[in-house]
């Protein structure tokens, strides 16, 4: 079976909907089955990457901490839409390393190279 290139496009803020956690669960299972997986963060999805959040204040589980385990799951391709950060007056003060900030054309190109995209 040829290895497919799978992407997960994260478009939701971390705590307003269950999407971010559901996407993380898919990413980790794909990683543990040794699938070729890339993560994309766009729109409100970029909020998932911002450092020093306090999920306990809204009684949410600190699942963003699990992002630090990506390297153990061989999740090494992480792409962030720079325009989405700018629109929200955010900088890349992230709680992860090893990500690529891409402009919209580059972000689109990367998505188009995939065989499957899941959007959450």
């Amino acid at each position: 079976m040829t290895q497919k290139h799978i992407g997960i496009l994260n478009c939701s803020a971390p705590f307003s909907k269950p999407n971010a956690k559901d996407a993380l669960d898919v990413a980790l299972i794909m990683g543990s089955y040794e699938q070729s997986i890339a993560l994309f963060f766009q729109g409100d999805g970029v909020w998932q990457l911002i450092n020093n959040q306090s999920p306990q204040q809204v009684n949410a589980k600190a699942f963003l901490d699990t992002f630090s385990a990506f390297k153990f799951y061989d999740i090494e391709h992480i792409y962030v839409c720079e325009a989405s950060l700018k629109e929200r007056n955010l900088t890349d003060n992230f709680h992860i390393d090893n990500y690529c900030l891409l402009d919209q054309d580059e972000f689109s190109d990367k998505l188009h190279q995939l065989d499957v995209v899941y959007k959450f």
Partner: protein, 125 residues
């Protein structure tokens, strides 16, 4: 792998996107595309609720999932973790009689990996 399809349903039974998923499934079969499975994730698991009751003048989605499974042998995989978060269970310790429709197979996210790797095309709704 050639000409195969996997469908991922993430919306509840009363969402028209779930109906669209069924329409795609039926069109695929009519047009010779091999539907290798449907995976229900997030609120999509609510399609498997045994006591689903949609007004009689609306599209009877539960009947259609059952037809798809029984007439065409399409596996309907339910993410059990998502199901339990939505009050669906077949665990005897939690519920006396399963409240999951019999035509659904209790699975996990590993099945999503299998379907994603095996199907030529994947459609998520």
């Amino acid at each position: 792998m050639a000409n195969t399809l996997a469908l991922i349903v993430t919306t509840p039974a009363y969402s028209n996107l779930s109906v669209t998923a069924l329409n795609i499934a039926q069109s695929a079969i009519e047009n010779g595309v091999e539907l290798i499975g449907v995976f229900f994730y997030q609120q999509g698991v609510l399609n498997a609720a045994k006591y689903l009751s949609i007004p009689s003048d609306e599209y009877q989605i539960a009947d259609e999932w059952q037809n798809l499974h029984e007439q065409h042998n399409i596996p309907l995989h339910l993410c059990i973790t998502a199901a339990e978060k939505n009050a669906l269970s077949d665990d005897k310790d939690i519920i006396e009689t399963s409240n999951i429709n019999d035509c659904f197979t209790v699975s996990g996210l590993g099945e999503l990996v299998e379907l994603t790797a095996s199907a030529e095309r994947v459609i998520q709704l």
